[in-house]
């Protein structure tokens, strides 16, 4: 049975006919929309490589059926930069070497952006470590990831303060 659904993906509305209700958001993005920045590391919600924002919240896209998310607003790693201008989190990951192989990186960055809007961790490295623990990095770039998050948060706070001043 075919199901029509529509999603907003990185700001653009996309309408699909899903021929199979088994398709997850992750496989929809990767195999049908060819947005392959979002990675499949485990497909079971155990690694975080597939993290995307759905309606502003970070989730594991491998454990979300696309059909159940009709109408959702989705942000993937491909939608984070503005043209050539990197998101401060992306720039900070480069500056602090918050990755090595890069495979977990899209998920880490989406998770970090999601974490900032949750506003639970603040600038406490221990809270950041805890709040980023849903994203495994086998290369072991955790130190750089925490530094990148702190740096990007600081820069974004500054920018916001300047804007509001």
């Amino acid at each position: 049975m075919n199901h029509s659904i529509s999603l907003t993906v990185n700001g653009a509305r996309r309408d699909f006919v899903l021929d199979d209700p088994r398709v997850t958001l992750l496989d929809l993005l990767r195999e049908r929309l060819h947005l392959t920045g979002t990675k499949k590391g485990c497909d079971r919600g155990q690694c975080g490589a597939c993290t995307i924002l759905v309606d502003g919240k970070r989730i594991n896209s491998c454990l979300a059926l696309a059909i159940s998310h009709d109408g959702a607003d989705i942000l993937t790693i491909e939608g984070v930069a503005r043209g050539d201008q990197l998101h401060p989190m992306q720039a900070a990951f480069i500056a602090h070497d918050g990755f090595q192989c890069g495979f977990c990186t899209p998920g880490q960055i989406m998770s970090a952006i999601g974490m900032m809007s949750e506003a639970q961790a603040g600038n406490d490295p221990e809270r950041i470590r805890e709040c980023m623990s849903g994203n495994l990095c086998r290369c072991g770039a955790y130190a750089g990831i925490v530094d990148a998050v702190l740096d990007a948060q600081g820069k974004m706070d500054e920018t916001n303060q300047r804007r509001s001043a």
């Binding site: 199979d20 088994r22 919600g45 970070r58 989730i59 221990e126 805890e130």
Partner: protein, 351 residues
């Protein structure tokens, strides 16, 4: 994943009717169900998607002082609700100690209650498992079982319930509201999960079509806010299931324990309410000796189901620790590492 029909009912009544059919299951966030389906542990014919149902995603303070939590409220939204965390700090701490931020954002309150065991033999479809396939046997009994149950298990099943959330909930006498084919009813959370006995495949008191629509905390539950903790021993600092966990909540009046609540996680097929331990604490001063006595009482009936005798001693120790931390007072702010031993220093006595 097996092919299935996807149904999206418009009302609770429609949902119950659709899910009462053989082979049908409810889909909420799917964080556990999809994992099980991908592993072929669960192969439903029909998914009844309840995520779009109206009215199940609210947190409502009741006139009697209780709280009603819609079944579709996400674990994260509940834990981060400031009023909720203030009134039921051990529940918030338990929620935030479970899974990962991503999973908590998706996973629902109702789904958390109904999550399945993490027993490796339940997950391994080539193994015999009475829970997965009634009457097939239990391969966990004779091999890798250091993480298995020490309370309430039977020869047929030694699996544990993995939820953190349920542990303080059951301590606080939470009630589950259920919509079924014969209308609405409610049962104590403590009665929702079943011990395995000779039918481990029957995990809960739910009947076909039954839909959990809300979890309710009774008025008395917020009376423990000043002295409530959840503690969890695990093999990673975060993103790991409990080996053993404990929720302890005390009402202290005039230097004595007016009422104690205690439950254990990771030790049985259900969140384990330790009433005998609660009883010995009633009316006594909150001392280390009293907590040791309570810890001993909590595990009186425990016996190893395999290479897991250590869990009994570990459970005693975590009970004593959780009680003493609760007695010291709920921290003003949730620890950086929720429920962790590495954040277990007590804060100032909660105002």
């Amino acid at each position: 994943m097996k092919q299935f029909d996807y149904v999206r009912p418009a009302t609770v009544t429609e949902a119950v009717a659709a899910a009462a059919q053989p082979g049908a299951v409810y889909l909420a966030a799917g964080t556990n169900l999809l994992d099980l389906m991908k592993g072929n542990i669960s192969r439903p014919d029909r998914l009844v998607d309840v995520t779009h149902l109206e009215g199940l995603d609210g947190i409502e303070r009741l006139a009697d002082g209780g709280l009603r939590i819609g079944a579709l409220v996400s674990n994260a939204d509940l834990a981060h609700d400031a009023d909720f965390a203030r009134s039921y700090p051990a529940v918030a701490e338990a929620l935030l100690s479970g899974a990962s931020a991503q999973l908590r954002n998706a996973a629902t309150v109702g789904g958390n209650l109904l999550q399945r065991t993490r027993c490796a033999y339940f997950y391994d479809t080539a193994s015999r498992c009475n829970k997965r396939e009634a009457g097939s046997g239990c391969d966990a009994r004779d091999d890798e079982n250091r993480g298995h149950a020490v309370l309430g298990w039977s020869e047929n099943c030694i699996a544990t319930h993995p939820s953190d959330f349920c542990v303080p909930l059951v301590a606080l006498d939470a009630v589950v509201e259920i919509e079924g084919r014969n209308g609405r009813r409610e049962i104590a959370l403590e009665a929702l999960h079943r011990l395995p006995g000779d039918a481990p495949e029957r995990e809960s008191a739910l009947e076909p079509g039954d839909l959990i629509v809300a979890v309710r905390l009774p008025p008395a539950a917020s009376g423990f806010a000043a002295h409530a903790r959840y503690l969890k021993v695990r093999e990673r600092t975060s993103y790991a299931f409990a080996i053993v966990s404990a929720a302890a909540a005390l009402r202290i009046e005039g230097g004595r324990i007016a009422e104690a609540r205690l439950a254990l996680g990771g030790v049985a097929a259900k969140p384990w309410r330790a009433r005998a331990a609660e009883d010995v604490l009633r009316g006594v001063a909150p001392t280390a000796d009293a907590f040791q006595e309570a810890a001993w009482r909590a595990l009186t009936d425990a016996k190893p189901s395999g290479d897991n005798a250590f869990k009994i001693e570990l459970a005693r120790r975590i009970v004593a620790r959780a009680l003493s931390l609760a007695a010291a007072g709920t921290p003003a702010r949730l620890p950086a590492l929720p429920a962790s031993l590495f954040a277990s220093t007590s804060g100032a006595i909660h105002a």
